[in-house]
């Protein structure tokens, strides 16, 4: 199928392009970009006038739950939610059941993703066998099977020695180590950020020091032994400061944050709102500002969803018993545009944190609009205003703290490998 995406404002952070251009798609690739491209025979025209055309988003951090937790989400439903959110490539975390610590699980995930045929799925393997934190997983085998990174996400790697060895060993296979930073003895079983809200609600707090001390340890390991590390879901100003210093010192440390961390603070938990229960927890207003500053000055490289779908039964319980996590694929785009609309990030900056930068950090293709590259494209309506209604999510996880919130910015269409897979009018578009 040939497409001509016509008349849109094209934004490509990799090349710095920002202008009204047409994009021609042939055989799944970008065949041309320019002004006034003539419609070739057999091509379908997508009229993008008034819309913004950008590279498809890359989500470095999401949970697809399959295998093992298909009642929360499947690879197919997660990928449908992804393309609805403008995400054309995603990295899925290893805390499935069984965990992704061997080639057969990796292969299963890739196969299921191919069957779904929507977003491109890059599995993340475990750092440690069984995600138990005791010994290194067979990272060579995981890399061979298609993993591009390792992480015990959902759990930290408690042993400093194992973490050191993981960073050293993963480099052999070009695997990125992604750090879920949480010092468990400081977190001490807390269920939300420790602050005046946890005091008011009588809930056990997770001190900000829990994430900070673990990040400090891991940066110290990189400082002494080299290698690189990517800090997942940065949520506090203290961690932003640590990463900023590490970068200033020339260390290979990168970081991501999530839309909820620059949009909500711990006040969102008031009323025991279990949809605002997430790990790391929503922090103070000062932390939100710290995260936004980190995004603006480049300390935080990437925005990722940490999409963590759960069944309603796991959230409709006492706050202490509720599962941690936010279903984020379908709100990420609009919440990111919130930073643009409030003037905190330029559009180019915001798009870059979802495209060329994560592609470079993870070492995966995509993230740019260039002749000869795969046509993974997001077409967005930056003016569209809408109200978040989790019941309309394609994800099985309706656990969003943004229910009822008015947002601006909407994905109008998503192309993956030159196929139009989603439009806001028709939803998921079959072959």
């Amino acid at each position: 199928m040939k497409y001509l995406i016509k008349g849109g404002r094209v934004i490509d952070p990799a090349s710095g392009k920002d202008g009204i251009l047409d994009i021609l798609i042939e055989d799944g690739l970008i065949a041309g970009m320019g002004k006034g491209i003539k419609k070739p025979g057999g091509a379908e025209v997508y009229d993008a006038s008034g819309l913004v055309v950008m590279p498809g988003f890359i989500d470095m951090h999401c949970h697809l739950r399959e295998p093992g937790f298909e009642y929360k989400e499947t690879i197919a439903t997660g990928c449908a939610a992804a393309v609805k959110g403008g995400i054309t490539s995603l990295m899925c975390m290893a805390n499935t059941s069984p965990v992704n610590d061997n080639a057969s699980v990796t292969s299963y995930i890739i196969e299921r993703a191919c069957e779904a045929g929507l977003a491109k799925v890059y599995p993340v393997g475990c750092v440690t066998k069984g995600m138990k934190g005791k010994s290194l997983s067979e990272m060579g085998e995981l890399a061979d099977a298609g993993c591009i990174a390792v992480s015990d996400d959902g759990r930290p790697v408690p042993s400093g020695e194992i973490m050191r060895r993981a960073i050293e060993y993963a480099a052999t296979f070009g695997l990125l180590v992604i750090d879920h930073a949480e010092e468990l003895t400081i977190a001490a079983g807390g269920v939300m950020h420790e602050g005046y809200v946890s005091t008011m609600l009588g809930l056990d707090g997770i001190p900000a020091a829990a994430a900070c001390s673990e990040v400090a340890r891991n940066i110290a390991l990189v400082r002494e032994f080299g290698g690189r590390i990517h800090i997942a879901h940065v949520s506090t100003a203290m961690v932003v400061d640590l990463v900023r210093q590490a970068k200033a010192d020339g260390l290979q440390v990168t970081a991501e944050t999530c839309p909820h961390f620059f949009t909500l603070d711990h006040e969102a938990v008031v009323g025991y709102n279990t949809n605002a229960k997430v790990k790391p927890p929503l922090s103070s207003a000062e932390d939100v500002q710290g995260v936004i500053e980190g995004l603006a000055d480049g300390t935080i490289d990437v925005i990722a969803t940490d999409h963590a779908p759960h069944h309603a039964d796991e959230k409709n319980v006492e706050f202490d018993l509720a599962a941690f996590g936010i279903s984020g694929l379908e709100t990420a785009f609009a919440l990111t545009m919130g930073l643009v609309n409030s003037g905190r990030l330029s559009l180019l900056q915001a798009v870059s944190k979802w495209t060329d930068v994560p592609a470079a950090i993870a070492g995966i293709p995509g993230g740019c609009l260039k002749k000869g590259e795969a046509a993974d494209i997001l077409v967005a309506d930056l003016e569209a205003q809408w109200t978040v209604d989790p019941e309309t999510f394609l994800s099985m996880g309706k656990n969003s703290p943004f229910a009822g919130v008015k947002v601006q910015g909407q994905v109008a269409a998503t192309f993956v490998d030159g196929r139009l897979v989603y439009t806001r009018e028709k939803g998921i578009v079959g072959d």
Binding site: Y196, T199, M200, G202, Y272, D313, E318
Partner: protein, 311 residues
């Protein structure tokens, strides 16, 4: 109704007007308990369910007596006897209960916020009888009642709350309640037991136990429960008693007519010495007595209402 709500979930969400109304109502209720026949027909035909997910003798008994003195049918539903041990969710328990059409559910639960879940899902009124470290509003109300009864007013009084504030629902209700009524509330204890941001609820954090007690009109000592959450916060009960327990010498810092209070059960020789617990300044048993009156008032306001008094 209490204010615009047909629940009592916490004193953080109860206005000073509503607190005054409850305390005023409790005055009339207290008289009933002094009669030969301690029963009025006010809540005849109403059903009060005591839904206790945590062991409690005193609070449950107090609510049960309060309900019975108003002629309501009181039913006790304790966690060990309930289906929750079979893995039923709180929501399912709530829905099942609702189908039996109670008028008031009195709930105690180990997790903060559990009564809110009930209140959102039940048609009937919900009274929080203590949830996690969140609130214990009827304890707060009976403390307010006791001080108001003895001192004649609450505004301008200095109230000291001493102990594990971090894990105390009683402390949170007392702080909110006394602050709402214009008292000056000081909290004190080892720094490990003072939660961050308690000032937002209306308390001042005393720099020392002595500062908290200095010139106090009422002193509320909290029970130290090493077997529960307080364990990691202090080295030993012995050391706690020595540095934070209320003894004769420390009590002399307070006003001569200061009230000594405790939500019970007391650890003699730990947070409070026996001579003080049993001494002339102690109003600990008055608190228990007033607890029945306050709970009668709460049940009456939620389940009855003034228009039904004459039935």
């Amino acid at each position: 109704m209490i204010g615009s709500s047909h629940h009592l979930l916490g004193l953080d969400t109860t206005s000073s007007e509503d607190i005054t109304r409850i305390l005023d109502t409790a005055e009339g209720m207290k008289e009933i308990s002094t009669r030969k026949i301690k029963k009025v027909p006010t809540l005849r035909g109403k059903t009060v369910v005591n839904l206790f997910f945590e062991p409690s003798t005193r609070t449950r008994t107090s609510f049960e007596i309060a309900a019975k003195r108003l002629s309501a049918d009181a039913v006790n539903f304790t966690a060990s006897a309930s289906s929750t041990s079979k893995g039923e969710t709180l929501l399912d328990t709530a829905r099942n209960l609702d189908s039996m059409a109670p008028d008031v559910v009195v709930m105690r639960h180990k997790y903060s916020g559990a009564p809110e879940i009930l209140a959102r899902n039940l048609q009937c009124s919900v009274v929080n009888a203590g949830d996690g470290a969140h609130q214990h509003p009827t304890q707060g109300l009976l403390d307010l009642y006791t001080v108001r009864e003895k001192k004649g007013h609450l505004d301008g009084l200095k109230v000291a709350i001493v102990g594990d504030i971090t894990h105390s629902r009683v402390a949170r209700s007392d702080v909110c309640g006394f602050a709402a009524m214009g008292s000056e509330v000081f909290v004190s204890g080892p720094p490990t037991m003072i939660p961050i941001g308690i000032e937002r609820l209306g308390a001042r954090v005393a720099g020392s136990l002595e500062e908290a007690l200095d010139g106090a009109d009422a002193i509320i000592m909290l029970r130290i429960q090493l077997e529960r959450r307080s364990g990691p916060l202090i080295p030993t009960l012995r050391e706690y008693a020595r540095f934070f327990g209320l003894n004769r010498e420390r009590l002399s810092l307070a006003k001569p007519d200061a009230l000594v209070m405790h939500p019970g059960p007391i650890n003699r020789g730990v947070e409070i010495s026996s001579d003080i617990a049993d001494g002339p300044d102690s109003v600990i048993l008055d608190q228990v007595e007033n607890g029945v009156a306050v709970r009668m008032a709460v049940l009456y306001l939620l389940a009855g209402g003034s228009d039904e008094v004459s039935d």
